[in-house]
């Protein structure tokens, strides 16, 4: 009897576990306030084999034999353009992923509500990849094979090493990719208005360094970095160690790595104080930055010249939670800061607020909004030219924009893929935390003209 009861109990526990993991296609209820009218994918990696196990050769063979399922979205013939997006809508990076998804979604909804693009409506399907590479590949596979997406659209997936190659091998264009990792910039199927970390670092750090030198009369020589232990954040530090500091005369005296579970920020602040660093460079996500600000404020520690940030923390939320203590923190943005009182920004804010009244503005949703708008621009180019809307014509349309300005939200971006060769976006705005907002203090600065840029005036190979 006991054994039977135990069996049933364990079975019930397993069933409950399976139920709690969510359905295979997660309903919008996980983000009830975020996506009212679109389906949001997410879910259970165990139920879908990883795309990374599918070799290119195998895919090609299947394509030849029965026609690739992924080719379902190769061209658009009906009235709906189905596109996907990857965002961390839950977990450690959701404070960035959610506003980013909202930014893209707001523009697509606005376009649909105003008649679509030449009569065609956009069906945008964001998938929650939880900033996890495995989940990103699962999401991408589902979007391509089950949803039959025409292209991958605006996304924020910085830690997915394999998904760019995965989609590239399938021939799926990624228009509005924001993944920071280098592979994305070197693929001929990827188009982005986002800038790579290298140019952003070369614009931010020299500007900040000279500014501090001018204001205080003493150059900030000792930098303590608090770095989220992921590739893109590490790139900032690598660039600083290899190019920026040798040229400027600074040193990264401490590079404290953190992860989403790190709780010892009090000790981190204290150790930075002990090292007598001139600044603490916060190379993390917003949530980790907020924890750092909170603990440093708790113990009353602020470095000599304050904090230095980077684009990863440029979100209203960061400053709202950190209060005036974060004032003076400098960071960078590859798009126009949302605090600028100019028509393109006002229009963006108005559209976003229409669909998401409580949206938290910042770099990420401005970039996603601009990316979504770029997508509809390219689709519009193809449709208005009378050509068939397919993946090839979409990429050709991108190559036709060598000085794209995101309708006033970015500057002089060459959309010709691969972006690493064409240069992509190398214009950077410098923002400073002032009473809860990231306010522009300089820019747009051309990173290729930075005193530390190793290939003056052009992209580095």
């Amino acid at each position: 009897m006991t054994k039977r009861v135990r069996f049933f109990a364990i079975s019930a526990a397993l069933m409950l576990s399976a139920a709690a993991c969510g359905p295979r296609f997660q309903s919008p209820q996980a983000q009830p306030d975020t996506f009212e009218t679109v389906s949001v994918l997410g879910g259970t990696p165990s139920t879908v084999p990883s795309a990374s196990t599918t070799s290119t050769t195998k895919t090609q063979l299947v394509r030849r034999l029965i026609g690739s399922r992924s080719d379902r979205g190769f061209k658009v013939t009906g009235g709906t353009i189905t596109i996907g997006g990857l965002f961390p809508l839950s977990g450690g990076l959701s404070s960035i992923g959610t506003p980013a998804a909202q930014g893209a979604q707001a523009w697509f909804r606005y376009v649909n509500d105003h008649g679509g693009i030449e009569g065609k409506k956009i069906k945008f399907i964001p998938c929650d990849d939880r900033a996890d590479d495995t989940q990103s590949t699962v999401c991408a596979k589902r979007l391509v094979e089950e949803e039959g997406i025409f292209a991958m659209g605006p996304s924020f997936t910085p830690f997915s090493e394999t998904v760019v190659s995965q989609l590239d091998s399938e021939g799926v264009p990624w228009i509005g990719w924001d993944g920071i990792n280098k592979p994305g910039f070197s693929k001929s199927t990827v188009v982005t208005v986002g800038a790579a970390i290298e140019p952003m670092a070369h614009a931010l750090v020299p500007y900040w360094y000279r500014q501090i030198e001018k204001e205080t009369g003493i150059a900030p020589k000792k930098i303590g970095a608090v770095t989220l232990d992921v590739g893109p954040a590490g790139t900032y530090i690598t660039v600083a160690k290899k190019y920026l500091c040798p040229k400027l005369g600074c040193t990264i005296v401490k590079d404290q790595r953190v992860n989403y579970q790190t709780t010892e920020y009090g000790t981190i602040c204290r150790s930075m104080q002990n090292e007598k660093v001139d600044t603490v460079w916060i190379v993390t996500d917003p949530a980790s930055a907020i924890k750092l600000f909170t603990f440093c404020r708790e113990i009353g520690y602020k470095p000599r010249v304050g904090f230095l940030g980077q684009h990863g923390i440029v979100l209203d939320l960061t400053l709202k939670q950190s209060g005036p203590f974060a004032n003076g923190t400098m960071a960078n943005s590859a798009v126009v800061p949302d605090t600028e009182k100019i028509p393109p920004v006002n229009e963006m804010k108005s559209i976003m607020r229409t669909y998401y009244p409580d949206v938290s503005f910042g770099y990420w949703n401005t970039l996603a909004f601009a990316s979504a708008r770029m997508f509809t621009d390219l689709v519009g180019d193809v449709l208005r030219s009378g050509k068939e809307l397919n993946r090839q014509t979409l990429l050709e349309a991108a190559a036709g924009h060598v000085s794209y300005d995101c309708h006033g939200l970015c500057k002089d971006v060459n959309l010709t893929p691969p972006m690493s060769q064409s240069g992509g976006n190398h214009w950077v705005w410098i923002v400073k935390a002032q009473n809860g907002h990231w306010v522009k203090v300089a820019g747009p600065l051309d990173a290729y003209q930075s005193e530390t840029w190793p290939c003056p005036g052009r992209p580095c190979a």
Binding site: T2, A9, T34, E264, R270
Partner: protein
Amino acid sequence: MPGEAVRVTLFLQYAANGIANGFVIGLLALSVVVIFRSTRVLSFAQGSIASLSTYAFFQMFTRWQWPVALAFVFAIAAAALIGIGAWALAMLPLRRTDPLTRTVATLALVLVLQMIMRTRWGGNEEFIKPLLDSRITIGSFVIGAQQVLIAVVAILATSGLTFWFRRSFAGLALSAMADDPSTARLLGVNPARVAATAWSIGAVLGALAGILITPLLVLNPFQMTLLMVTAFGAALLGGFDSVPLALGGALLIGIVQSVTTGYITTSGFSEAFGFIAVFAVLLLRRGHATSLLDSLARETAL
């Protein structure tokens, strides 16, 4: 020698920073101990119960803008109800099964509670502003008032709990039920009531941990569950029986994690070193220190 003094001060400062974290881990560990001691069930759900209670506090304090004291009292009351609810829904139907079965059921409870939180509040990170925003300076030591608050509440809760267990009939009933259920029943102890009380107290302890630490961290459905992993290490040190040893283990973990962070810049090391410290002590228990720790555990058991 001044350099030596600075190093010592710095070490002590790092250690002090770890104490607040240690107390939070301690409260979570105690929530496990209370339930295990009374029901022999190792509850993996305490982290999720703590998160849910903290979400309740967040809803009242941050979203509805209730005064902090009112939100705190209601959140603690909600935690007690959540604890009783968890027992009634997950444990009561399995009351005739062995503890192992019920322990497995708590794993399902974790997932169900996380589903509830994700459905109600989403998977986003939320923030709660610190309850105290000042700092306290003692000599060269500077420590945040929120951290001091955590320590004070944890000490009060632990002392109160120990006193209640040893002096009140209900508290003694909990211990009696664990030691000799048959005799306890003959003496009029109601096992269902004892179990419900234990779950309720466990939930309140978890809620205290969550409400106090979240203003310094972030609120999401997983944060407290991750802290629970560490709390199990602390509870293990006390053999899941002893309040002081569990609390001591938690402080050890908190301090070792903090000190490790101060000297090692690689992420992940501090978490690992906390556990290494516990394992080191557990290994000691096998050797010369066995009798000392075992007798300590026996003497300080609830």
